[in-house]
């Protein structure tokens, strides 16, 4: 369907499907043993498929090897726990034959169910995300740490929180009620959104690493949108948002890898097929009564994607959308964005005026976004001293060298120095 969907991550995707399918059968509290068994089956596959060729049905092969490995391990564990293997109900409980290998639809269904199990209020959202990335998307702890800019120990800690929950609360994947699904769907959306933005906003030097979280989020959202559990307007709005962001991903940096502002981006390089697909999803998302933050965010992106130039953007529409967004999902960040749009629409003074009445939380007042926007607006109002002051603070607060560099360039262009 597009260039991003064709990149294969067969092993990673098999990993998540196998973990979810086996957990559905044996119970989510077996998470450790099941993940070990799936890891084992993939390693066997690399070795044996090289020697003997790939089997006709690789998924079934992997499932069977993993499932048998799990049974052996469980038997060993129970033996160690001084239970007689013969007397344990295990042999009958999990008896297997080839016919029981789940079909693809069933595997996808198990996979989504597991996502709904993990996206659960009882687990902190950061842990929901790490669990999703590790156990369902098949990233290793090391790979996640690299992508989330944090330590492996930290990722492991977050993963453990989710794991503990699953081990302590025997969650049956089969009995997720429609009500459960309905209440958890917004949490599933939030995790998918987080996975996407982690990739999109990342300033990692390796493009492949930046993009694979985005791809993963799209893959999961697409799967969700095709299922009875998740075929709702919000899911399509989320997909639209992801596609419309991704369409501009390549132009966010210049040839040297430095970040570019929207105004400087080469619009002719935006990926038109992705934009078209995104607009298609946006259209699908209107078939519902619910207006979610994803709808509005995707709508704002659509305005940018459809505007022939920066100047010709319908800034009034964008200001209105941010206003709406603040009402639906209050965040001072939306206000900041509205100020920027307002400055383009009515001028920098009106932009600054938007910020005057906002309650700025501490985290935002210390962030580079806040100072950078203020510096820009002050400068355009002719307040050079205030602008320099804010610019200095912005550079100091910038989290990465790339962003510092972008701010320095912008300052130099204005003939200012921090």
């Amino acid at each position: 369907m597009n260039q991003y969907a064709t990149i294969e991550h067969t092993f990673r995707h098999e990993y998540g499907q196998l973990v979810a399918s086996i957990l559905r059968r044996v119970g989510a509290h077996h998470i450790d043993a099941v993940e070990d068994a799936v890891q084992y089956s993939l390693m066997q596959a690399v070795d044996l498929w090289c020697r003997q060729g790939t089997p006709d049905n690789p998924s079934a092969w992997l499932y069977l090897v993993a499932y048998r490995k799990f049974l052996t391990e469980l038997r060993d564990i129970r033996l160690r726990e001084n239970l007689l293997a013969q007397q344990s109900p295990l042999a009958d409980e999990y008896v297997t034959d080839y016919a029981e290998i789940p079909l693809l639809d069933e595997m996808n269904d198990s996979f989504l169910r597991m996502l709904f199990v993990a996206c659960n209020d009882a687990i902190p959202v950061e842990s929901q995300m790490v669990f999703t990335l590790k156990s369902l998307c098949g990233f290793s702890i090391r790979e996640i740490a690299l992508r989330l800019f944090t330590s492996e120990a930290n990722v492991y800690k977050r993963f453990s929180r989710a794991r503990q929950y699953l081990v302590k609360n025997t969650v049956p994947l089969n009995v997720l009620s429609d009500a459960d699904i309905k209440t958890r769907l917004p949490m599933v959306h939030r995790v998918l959104y987080l996975v996407f933005t982690e990739g999109y906003l990342s300033s990692h030097c390796d493009k492949a690493i930046r993009i694979d979280l985005c791809e993963e989020a799209i893959h999961l959202t697409q799967l969700l949108s095709e299922s009875t559990m998740g075929k709702v307007a919000e899911t399509f709005a989320l997909l639209a948002l992801m596609y419309l962001h991704l369409a501009r991903m390549n132009t966010r940096q210049d040839d040297s890898g430095a970040l570019l502002l929207l105004e400087q981006q080469d619009r002719s390089q935006w990926d038109q097929p992705l934009i078209a697909a995104g607009l298609g999803f946006l259209k699908q998302s209107t078939r519902g009564d619910n207006l979610s933050r994803y709808h509005i965010e995707a709508g704002i992106l659509a305005e940018h994607c459809l505007a022939p130039t920066f100047k010709q953007t319908r800034w009034d529409q964008i200001v209105a959308s941010y206003e709406l967004l603040e009402r639906i999902a209050p965040s001072p960040l939306h206000c900041l964005n509205r100020a920027v749009a307002m400055a383009e629409w009515k001028g920098p003074k009106e932009g600054l005026a938007v910020l005057q009445f906002v309650d700025i939380p501490d985290w935002l007042a210390r962030s580079y976004y806040w100072h950078a926007v203020q510096a820009d607006l002050f400068y355009r109002c002719g307040e050079k001293t205030l602008a320099c002051n804010s610019a200095g603070k912005a550079i100091q607060a910038a989290p990465t060298a790339d962003i510092k560099c972008l701010l320095h360039k912008r300052l130099a262009k204005c003939g200012l120095s921090p």
Binding site: E8, H9, T10, F11, R12, E14, Y15, Q39, L42, M43, A45, V46, D47, W49, C50, R51, Q52, G138, F139, S140, R142, E143
Partner: protein
């Protein structure tokens, strides 16, 4: 014309091998396939892995393995054909197996009368 057959013996240092992630494994698999395609005329038999338990039989008795006194463990074997030892070395040099640190592959011609 590949008229010589070579036995390739894979040795590796025990332990210290971290678990590969699914992506690592996929990459490894892809590398194997590329290598196998490139040298399909040379590869006779991808061989097998060898188990890590074994025994050594000598005139004066039998010792159980694994042979922890050795610095390297023989982990597997395969057979290839080539016109010369140089060519056999070239084939093996490009294999993904040698990319792993701590792995060495010994190449010996199988002598036929």
């Amino acid at each position: 014309m590949n008229n010589n057959t070579y036995m390739c013996i894979l040795r590796s240092k025990p332990g210290a091998c971290s678990q590969p992630s699914p992506s690592d494994m996929e990459l490894m698999f892809a590398k194997y396939r590329t290598w196998q395609d490139k040298f399909s005329d040379n590869i006779v038999d991808m061989g097998n892995k060898l188990g890590d338990v074994g025994a050594v039989v000598r005139q004066d008795g039998v010792n159980d393995g694994p042979f922890i006194e050795l610095k390297e463990i023989i982990g597997g074997y395969m057979t290839i054909t080539a016109t010369s030892l140089d060519e056999a070395v070239a084939v093996i040099k490009e294999s993904p197996m040698v990319a792993n640190s701590g792995v060495s592959i010994e190449i010996r011609e199988i002598m036929t009368p």
